[in-house]
């Protein structure tokens, strides 16, 4: 099952069960929500190919007390609607749950117009956004259900790439493999956990996983890291560098930030091809990490 499938099922169940829940679509996945729309025409709203309006409508729905979920490809949901997200949600102190597909290079064959490596960085310019990047479809329903109860601003970034198994959908860092005391720590976000585990096989490092990069578990990070930290995230490289620097500001430390490069790759193929091109497959990650780890404490 894909993350998108679990999103459709979990959100449909939320709409059925919770009269406060509303879903706003901009054509993408509208066919998948047709049964829910037939049952709840007032709370399943397809605005057509109008992503700015989708976010504006969400602001209005939230101001009347509903809990809007929005969904589209990340470049349209976030990049295109950035000012509506900033003003129609944030500035109004209104909340919503934004659920994207197609972040980074998942839409590999569709080209750069359908890709958004910068979505998390864009939300980082704004106040109060929680960002969840699940690494497995099994983590998705719990994230969506937890978001239904609040009025805060939540971004759930669904991807094509998945880890072999789900982990608990918690906000904290989860240690997956423990190295010796003081060993370098690799923080892997969402679906890059498995490549990070493969890349560090046989090395004395601690590997920790998070599916909630915002707010990042900085207390856990500060406890875990001695001096050397590698962050592996499936969106723009360095997106979390400011958070890591703040968490470790009280000590001398070294940090390597790996992720999607700014360099536009004008080729198509598959997400795996793009992962390789950005050095985010196991081999690429290992190649980037080895010189850094070789000089670690």
């Amino acid at each position: 099952m894909t993350m998108r499938d679990t999103f459709v099922n979990a959100t449909t169940a939320l709409i059925d069960d919770d009269p406060r829940t509303a879903l706003v679509l901009a054509d993408i996945s509208a066919d998948r929500f047709a049964p829910a729309q037939r049952r709840h025409p007032d709370r399943v709203i397809n605005v057509g190919i109008r992503e700015g309006l989708m976010a504006g409508v969400a602001g209005g729905l939230a101001l009347t007390g509903l809990r809007p979920y929005l969904h589209s490809y990340a470049p349209f949901l976030i990049d295109r609607a950035y000012e509506q997200i900033k003003l129609d949600l944030g500035h109004q102190d209104a909340g919503a749950v934004l659920v994207s597909i197609g972040g980074s290079y998942d839409a590999a064959g569709a080209g750069y117009t359908h890709q958004s490596p910068g979505d998390v960085a864009l939300l980082d310019t704004l106040e109060g956004w929680a960002v969840h990047v699940p690494g497995h479809a099994g983590e998705v329903p719990a994230l969506l259900r937890a978001a239904a109860a609040g009025d805060d601003r939540v971004y759930v970034r669904l991807g094509e790439q998945q880890n072999a198994r789900p982990y608990p959908a918690v906000d904290t860092l989860q240690v997956i493999r423990r190295g010796s005391v003081g060993a370098p720590v690799v923080i892997a976000v969402g679906p890059l956990l498995d490549p990070a585990l493969a890349a560090t096989e046989g090395l004395d490092v601690t590997v920790a996983y998070t599916l909630t990069p915002r707010p990042l578990d900085t207390a856990g990070l500060a406890t875990l890291v001695d001096r050397d930290v590698v962050v592996v995230e499936p969106y723009l490289a360095g997106t979390s560098s400011h958070v890591v620097a703040e968490a470790l500001r009280d000590r001398p430390h070294r940090a390597l930030h790996l992720g999607v490069a700014r360099r536009e790759i004008r080729q198509y193929g598959s997400p795996a091809d793009h992962a390789r091109a950005h050095g985010l497959d196991a081999l690429g990650l290992r190649a980037s990490m080895m010189p850094f780890l070789a000089t670690a404490s």
Binding site: D42, R50, V57, E83, Q92
Partner: protein, 225 residues
């Protein structure tokens, strides 16, 4: 003399209290009569009901030139008249564009043009989904229609026949204008064109049943004239 008339007469004095609004002066007053008629004769909202779920909603989309808005809010008791003399100051709740978090009775914070209509669509949808008997009004400027975001909301509202009243105050401030008229940009909406200073005509137009997309173009003197 009715209380209403007394407070109408108070508007010039209240406007005079708003210091330092030179930047937005012409547009500030273009909306004055529309706002007065809304709050005096149309909207079912009072200072006591600003948090009631079934209050009527008024969204000032354009945000610019809020002096008239602030004066009407003060005349109707939503904000203290003493606030008016300090707009834009560090510790004033009143900015050059209104902030819903700071000002009682203000439904949305605006200023960046082209946002109010989309939020109004969501507001009307949210009220309808909850079965609330409340109407949604949104005020735009004719120059604000330059922003493409409005046209997403205009087309969608017509397509789903959403009950929503948009008021466009037309002081001919759009750089390239709207050849063929503003109603032509609202296909599928029921349009009225009324004098923006004619309070009885405004009251009639604003009081039409809130059962469909309605456009009211309130024509006032050309900006700067």
């Amino acid at each position: 003399m009715t209380e209403s008339a007394t407070r109408t007469d108070a508007l010039p004095a209240l406007l005079d209290r708003i210091a330092g609004d030179e930047k937005h002066l012409p547009s500030a007053y273009s909306t004055l009569d529309v706002l007065w008629v809304l709050y005096d004769r149309v909207l079912r909202v009072t200072p006591a009901t600003v948090d009631e779920p079934d209050r009527d909603r008024f969204l000032l989309s354009k945000g610019h030139g809020p002096a008239a808005y602030y004066a009407v809010l003060a005349a109707k008791g939503f904000i203290p008249p003493e606030w008016l003399g300090h707009a834009g100051e560090w510790d004033s709740p009143l900015g050059w564009h209104p902030d819903r978090i700071r000002i009682p009775g203000v439904e949305i914070g605006t200023g960046s043009l082209g946002h109010g209509l989309g939020v109004a669509v969501g507001t009307a949808l949210g009220l309808r989904a909850q079965g609330l008997d409340a109407r949604t009004f949104v005020l735009l400027g004719d120059a604000e229609l330059d922003e493409g975001s409005n046209h997403e909301a205009i087309a969608f509202t017509a397509a789903i026949r959403l009950p929503l009243t948009a008021i466009v105050v037309d002081n001919q401030s759009s750089t390239y204008g709207w050849p063929g008229g503003i109603p032509a940009r609202f296909p599928g909406w029921e349009a009225s064109i009324v004098g923006g200073r004619d309070r009885d005509a405004l009251e009639w137009a604003l009081g039409q049943p809130a059962d469909r997309p309605r456009l009211i173009v309130a024509v006032v003197e050309k900006q700067g004239s």
